[in-house]
């Protein structure tokens, strides 16, 4: 392999010796320009199999080995260097650092990964700072703008846009993705960037977004931006408002029904399962709520005759309770419907980004909607792959689908039992074979099911200050080194650690500018209050103002006649 040769290698230090672990080494650097930052990439040269290789490493620690004595800092207004100069030490070389480096290895373009030479560098070897062009080539599995690339941003330790980093879309669409950050760290913004990249002409993905906050409306701007167009291609963005979200009753499984119906007794559960099976058997083409209720009555132990049956005169309290609960949950819902459903061919298509808005929807209903949607998509992909359905069928999806779930801890909570957890787990563990991939966005990894989090092989982690959440990440995410996890509380808005299957090595990124507007901006409360006074305040004052003194006519006994 011919490695590109740096034009002017910049030597920043000298190898001191091996570090604490087998894949670490330390080097000494004066670093007057403060170039050797945490997370910075450096390399040394060594012979591997008779060929000179550049062995890349990431700076993981920095300790000072030479400091001015504390007593030189007795007066804050006098720099210690001036004291030293006073004594005759007038050199600038007052600082020396011992830098710890985790060795990544040399990049083998054929294997597409880093190979560790497993031998520490010789003491005294020069250590160079990796140049931008080389880093841009080896950190990302795909180059920016290539088919299957998602350009998220640029390396944080370098100048903006000096080293662009692109995720390998194939990596996260086969082994899933997680975006984890505390609130206000920019996770929706990052997700927006990722979605933009997925809808670019070089990706043309089929994406389904579950949006419980209604933040992704602005993605519609993609349809009009020239950056997203190429030839005949332009992305489509469909937004399903909560009013338009429909789940057909016969797509609900028995666990869905059990989950939706409140306080079911053992007997009710038993009867519900019998009624469900009865309905499945009896109404092959699908059933309505009425038919389901019919099934409940038919499976009642104290079944009445056909002509005796009625809604209001249930003798059996179990049947009565079940009917009442089904009516109350499904009959009064605007989501669950006898005939209408979100059809898969409307939701999924290459170049189509579908946003299912679930704001104002009850959380249990949200979970059932997500569970049914994911289950149907997954089943459709299985059926399509196994050629059980063909062209023209509404469940025919001959392409992979990427599903992005905002507030994923609602759908796979750690401590509670949600109906959507099982299907999520199933897709996360088996979806790769059938081309269904999940992107999870959560601000509380501590509340997210640990199995679910650990199945996401690409992780985008932003600022997290909560120690419980930090620990959960450390437990669930193997690919991020401890050194990078230590950075978590200090990350700023828009800074993200990306690791896992979609990048060659964990990297610290500055997220790029979005092309579409960000829909999840925080509300500027003081500005809104000011605006209220300018806009509505005058009118409100008018409404509440007391009337000018009017002549009041009174009756003789003092009561007001009119005013």
């Amino acid at each position: 392999m011919n490695q590109p040769v740096a034009i002017e290698p910049v030597c920043v230090g000298t190898v001191k010796g091996p570090g604490e672990t087998p894949h670490e080494f330390t080097f000494i650097a004066p670093d007057p320009d403060r170039r050797v930052k945490h997370g910075e990439f450096v390399y040394y040269l060594t012979q591997v199999d008779g060929q000179e290789r550049r062995i890349l490493g990431r700076v993981t620690g920095r300790e000072s080995v030479r400091l001015f004595p504390d007593s030189f800092m007795a007066d804050p207004s006098v720099p210690p260097a001036q004291i030293a100069a006073l004594l005759g030490y007038d050199s600038d070389a007052s600082e020396l650092f011992e830098i710890t480096v985790a060795v990544l290895g040399y990049h083998d373009s054929q294997m597409g990964e880093f190979i560790n030479p497993r031998v520490p560098p010789a003491g005294g070897s020069p250590v160079y700072i990796a140049d931008d062009a080389w880093l841009a080539q080896i950190l990302s599995k795909r180059q920016r703008g290539e088919i299957g690339s998602a350009h998220l941003g640029s390396l944080l330790s370098r100048a903006p846009d000096a080293v662009p980093v692109a995720l390998d879309v194939r990596g996260f669409t086969s082994t899933h993705l997680a975006i984890i950050a505390s609130t206000g760290s920019g996770k929706s913004y990052l997700a927006g960037v990722l979605l933009e990249e997925l809808m670019m002409p070089y990706n043309r993905a089929s994406v389904l977004i579950v949006d419980p906050h209604g933040e992704y409306n602005t993605l519609q701007e993609m349809q009009n931006l020239p950056a997203f167009r190429e030839g005949n291609y332009k992305p489509r963005v469909r937004i399903f408002q909560p009013d338009a979200v429909r789940v057909r009753i016969d797509t609900l499984t028995l666990p869905d029904l059990r989950y939706l119906l409140p306080n079911l007794s053992e007997k009710m559960q038993y009867q519900l399962s019998r009624a469900y099976r009865f309905a499945q058997r009896s109404f092959k083409g699908g059933y309505t709520l009425e038919q389901l209720l019919y099934a409940v009555r038919q499976t009642s132990d104290n079944k009445k005759g056909e002509d005796e049956a009625g809604f209001d005169d249930e003798d059996d309290p179990t049947t009565g309770g079940l009917v009442w609960r089904l009516n109350s949950v499904l009959g009064n819902s605007r989501i669950f419907n006898d005939f209408e459903n979100l059809e898969l061919d409307e939701l999924c298509a290459p170049g189509l980004c579908t946003v299912i808005q679930l704001n104002e929807v009850d959380q249990r209903e949200q979970q059932v909607i997500v569970a049914t949607l994911l289950r149907r998509i997954y089943q459709a992909r299985i059926d399509t792959t196994k050629k059980k359905v063909g062209r023209g069928d509404k469940n025919y999806i001959p392409f992979p689908v990427f599903c992005l779930l905002e507030e994923a801890h609602h759908y796979a909570p750690a401590s509670a039992d949600a109906v959507s957890t099982d299907v999520l787990k199933q897709i996360l563990s088996e979806g790769r074979k059938f081309g269904v991939s999940i992107g999870l966005i959560s601000q509380r990894p501590g509340k997210l099911d640990s199995d679910v989090l650990s199945q996401c092989m690409t992780q985008c982690i932003m600022r997290i200050t909560n120690p419980i959440d930090q620990n959960r990440i450390a437990e669930s995410v193997e690919s991020v080194g401890r050194d990078l996890l230590r950075e978590l509380p200090s990350l700023s808005k828009g800074q993200v650690i990306v690791s896992g299957a979609s990048v060659n090595t964990p990297v610290l990124l500055r997220v790029r500018q979005r092309l579409t507007r960000h829909g999840g901006e925080s509300i500027d409360a003081p500005a809104e209050w000011h605006a209220w006074f300018e806009r509505d305040g005058a009118a409100a004052r008018q409404d509440t103002a007391l009337p000018a003194a009017r002549r009041v006519q009174r009756e003789e006994d003092g009561d007001i006649l009119f005013a």
Binding site: F72, I83, A84, L87, Y89
Partner: protein
């Protein structure tokens, strides 16, 4: 021109010699204070068993003034000008002594060696000031690169003057070997840090 600054009168160790600076009448060319200043490199011709032309190379690290009149509070009978006439021996007893540490030698072939010499100098051997070209020769290694192999030996003398002596040597060599300035700067900074900054903290 090679200037003879004095003669060896004593040694404290195998490498530590005392040289008496020539006074008036002892040498054709009277050495000036600058010729035997602190940090001056000198050569001492080896006699006896040593090969012809072989000489020690050392550096002046200390100065001592001998004054037999010190502490004598009695009246002086004659002023100094008259002493030269009436009691010249008394004047000869005042002397300037310099301490020299031998840092290496130059063999009969003119090749420099740094380290502890095998052969010691003898009493009354004249001491010459080393010129810049000889100084450069003494510090040049095999590939013409600068050598300072005597530094550990100097530091091992435990003299409070040695660190300053080394700083002075390094500064002088930086002027003579401009291409070696970066290497010398590392050493100078290190010495300066240990001897100036750390003790003061």
């Amino acid at each position: 021109m090679t200037i003879t600054i004095g003669k060896i009168v004593k040694s404290n160790t195998h490498v530590d010699y005392v040289c008496q600076i020539y006074g008036p009448g002892e040498s054709d060319v009277l050495p000036q204070p600058g010729d035997y200043s602190f940090g001056t490199f000198v050569s001492i011709r080896l006699e006896g068993q040593a090969a012809p032309g072989e000489r020690l190379v050392g550096v002046i690290y200390n100065t001592l003034l001998m004054n037999p009149d010190f502490g004598n509070l009695g009246p002086r009978l004659s002023p100094r000008q008259e002493l030269e006439v009436f009691t010249p021996d008394y004047l000869a007893e005042t002397a300037t002594l310099v301490g020299i540490i031998a840092l290496g030698w130059i063999d009969s072939g003119g090749r420099p060696w740094q380290g502890v010499p095998a052969v010691a100098a003898t009493v009354n051997t004249p001491v010459h000031r080393l010129e810049d070209d000889e100084l450069c020769l003494f510090h040049q290694g095999d590939q013409g690169r600068l050598n300072l192999r005597y530094v550990p030996m100097l530091l091992g003398q435990n003299s409070p003057l040695v660190p300053q002596l080394l700083l002075q040597i390094v500064d002088r060599l930086a002027r003579l070997f401009p291409q070696e300035r970066s290497r010398l700067a590392v050493m100078r900074n290190n010495l300066a840090w240990k001897n100036i900054v750390q003790p003061a903290g």
